[in-house]
């Protein structure tokens, strides 16, 4: 992603050129609509298994991923739809995967928690919390050996931040000076347990300091704050400056999984967050108030995305189921 030139920013209080603003909004809106629609479709009972929705956290995935290209790798989480979309995984294939269809990203063999597209540098959503951290160290190591300038980003929540794998990986990335960024998506809850209960330090920045890693904590509902902080850390890592930690504090609008009664949340918490901590609303208000993007342009993107998601759901429902022979295929490359 090229840095905006000073001329492009003149008379513009918004620190990004318009095409990038539209791209950012489109990505965040796509994630939001994808998740809101899954919430509705899941309740109908058509979707097998369980899904974890990313609504409310869109600015984090989008603000980070806008600095990446296909040579850069990400390792995601059980709550991975947003990371997939922001990394460029095909939305139609994702939807088909979640419906367990042959046309899905993983031919119906992975499901919501395992969507991957290695051609896009997406190393997989992951059902094991904290498992992406060692994997992304490997991606960083591979980039370093190849000298291709690629970086690796691992996302994990405030819960998985307490996994040994994450802590071991921070140390490993530090001693090998790997081009890796650890992104902590702090939504306040590890499933139903509060971060204040489960984490001994008040700030993940302090924990990163313990590993000798630079760390930044930002308001994850502010796309521009995420974009700026991630850009700085990624550029440094890409240039050989080593790993870092980025904490994004935000809220998830739904439960841990669909069907979660969310009784651990305060009364009115979701309503408050939707009214005051909605990264899409905050973004749209800011760019329209600045006069950089019009309300009509926002509305047009909203319509385009709504149509994209409609098509994805329609196609996914109509898509063929995997064939019985698929049960036994692709266990090995050769056996």
């Amino acid at each position: 992603m090229p840095e905006p030139t000073p001329s492009a920013l003149s008379n513009n209080p918004i620190p990004l050129p318009k095409d990038q603003l539209l791209e950012a909004y489109r990505t965040m809106r796509t994630i939001r609509d994808f998740e809101e629609r899954l919430h509705v479709e899941f309740a109908k009972g058509d979707i097998p298994g369980f899904v974890h929705l990313y609504a409310g956290e869109e600015a984090c995935a989008t603000g980070v991923m806008m600095h990446l290209t296909d040579i850069d790798r990400i390792a995601s989480t059980h709550r991975g739809h947003g990371h997939c979309i922001a990394k460029g995984v095909d939305v139609g294939e994702m939807m088909a995967e979640i419906y367990g269809k042959e046309t899905g990203s993983c031919r119906g063999k992975g499901g919501s928690m395992h969507i991957a597209d290695l051609s896009k540098g997406m190393m997989g959503a992951n059902g094991i919390l904290g498992a992406g951290a060692p994997l992304i160290c490997g991606a960083g190591l591979a980039a370093k050996f190849r000298g291709d300038g690629g970086v690796g980003i691992t996302f994990f929540g405030d819960g998985a931040a307490n996994q040994g794998t994450v802590l071991e990986s921070m140390n490993l990335a530090a001693i090998w000076n790997l081009p890796v960024i650890f992104v902590i998506e702090n939504n306040g809850y590890a499933e139903a347990t509060s971060v204040t209960y489960a984490t001994a330090v008040d700030s993940y920045v302090d924990r990163a300091t313990g590993f000798g890693l630079p760390a930044v904590s930002v308001d994850g509902t502010d796309f521009f704050a995420v974009h700026k902080a991630a850009g700085d850390l990624i550029a440094k890592a890409r240039g050989g400056g080593g790993p870092a930690v980025l904490e994004c504090k935000m809220s998830r609008f739904f439960g841990h999984f669909e069907g979660d009664s969310q009784t651990y949340k305060a009364k009115g918490e979701n309503e408050f967050n939707r009214a005051n901590r909605d990264c899409l609303k905050i973004f749209a208000d800011r760019v329209t108030a600045a006069g950089v993007v019009s309300e009509a342009e926002i509305a047009l993107l909203d319509r385009e995305v709504a149509s994209l998601i409609d098509d994805a759901v329609t196609s996914a429902k109509a898509a063929p189921l995997p064939a019985a022979r698929d049960l036994l295929s692709d266990v090995y490359v050769s056996y």
């Binding site: 063999k109 498992a131 951290a133 060692p134 994997l135 991606a139 591979a142 990986s169 001693i175 050769s334």
Partner: protein, 340 residues
């Protein structure tokens, strides 16, 4: 050209040859260089038992000493493999799987299937296995069945230096994750090994002794005990045992086993793993199902007992299957007329 080479140096040679051939091969593990950051020699150890000694001088920074963080570096090897490298990670003792198993079980083994055939994870995890080193319960286990149980993993356990070299080269060139098990009590064992590179295909057992009366199936160190038992049986009882070295446990060469049992009618499986849900039970069950009509006697199993590996040499020597125990099992399958 062949010359005598130890099991340990055959592994060293395989790693060296593959690193020369393919720049994507890298090595990582605890003290595989040895002395990183320390004031003394850089290449001080070359692995805890010296298996990778000298490779740092030849390949430099393509060997990486790791912190004592098995989850992080085994996972990094898996991740690097998914990104196009061919890492060979040394887990030192396979017993240490306990601290990093998720990266093997839920990551490396699952990627290809779970991602719809779109991932390739050519990682090799080398580790020492087996008892007899007076290393007690946490450094001596034969945990091969833990890995053969997992779809997506390949499991290799050679019995000699020639096979170790050829199977390790195949492991590195293979596109699937491989658990490469090295019996620590074979490291000093020497056989003729060619100097050049060669790959032994997976799933091809080796019939190391021909015989018409009984089939003994084994792998790793106990192949040698089975050979000792076969020699004694021939000498003392005129019983000619066919001895099969499985070499790879996943995939496994069922055809060679079945063909042999159909000829001999008798089966003894020798496994240094515990008796339950082991390679021994697997082979015995498969033969019972596929060649029941050929069997003249119930299949016998000779395994370690269902106990942790004890420390005291007196007890540990009782733990590992002996040639005497194997011969005893063979005699249980043979009619008195033949045994007389």
């Amino acid at each position: 050209m062949a010359r005598k080479l130890s099991f340990k140096m055959a592994i060293n040679e395989a790693l060296d040859l593959e690193m020369r051939r393919d720049p994507s091969v890298i090595l990582l593990g605890e003290d595989i260089v040895g002395g990183s950051g320390a004031p003394g020699e850089k290449d001080a150890w070359g692995g805890v038992l010296g298996v990778t000694k000298g490779l740092y001088a030849k390949h430099g920074n393509r060997l990486l000493d790791t912190p004592l963080s098995e989850s992080a570096y085994i996972g990094a090897a898996v991740g690097a493999a998914a990104c196009g490298m061919r890492p060979v990670a040394e887990l030192m003792f396979l017993d240490f799987m306990g601290v990093c198993f998720d990266q093997i079980l839920n990551q490396a083994a699952k990627f290809r299937y779970m991602f719809g055939g779109k991932a390739t994870t050519p990682v090799v995890i080398r580790a020492m296995v087996g008892a007899g080193f007076r290393a007690a319960a946490q450094h001596s286990q034969m945990l091969t069945p833990m890995f053969t149980h997992v779809p997506g993993l390949k499991v290799v356990c050679p019995s000699n230096a020639y096979d170790a070299k050829g199977l390790l080269i195949q492991s590195i060139r293979d596109d699937d994750p491989v658990i490469f098990c090295e019996h620590k009590n074979l490291y000093g064992h020497e056989v003729d090994v060619p100097t050049e590179a060669y790959a032994i295909p997976f799933g091809e057992a080796n019939v190391v002794r021909d015989g018409k009366d009984v089939t003994i199936v084994s792998y790793g160190l106990t192949v040698h005990r089975a050979m000792d038992a076969a020699a004694a049986l021939s000498r003392q009882h005129g019983i000619e045992a066919e001895v099969i070295d499985l070499r790879t446990l996943s995939p496994i060469d069922w055809d060679t086993v079945i063909e042999s049992v159909e000829n001999t009618g008798r089966l003894v499986v020798v496994d240094e793993a515990h008796p339950r849900c082991s390679i021994a039970t697997d082979v015995a069950a498969y033969v019972a199902q596929q060649a029941f009509g050929a069997l003249k006697a119930a299949p016998q199993m000779v395994t370690a007992p269902h106990t942790p590996v004890p420390f005291s040499p007196t007890l540990e020597d009782l733990y590992i299957p002996t040639a005497e125990a194997i011969a005893g099992a063979v005699l249980r399958t043979v009619p008195h007329a033949l045994a007389a």
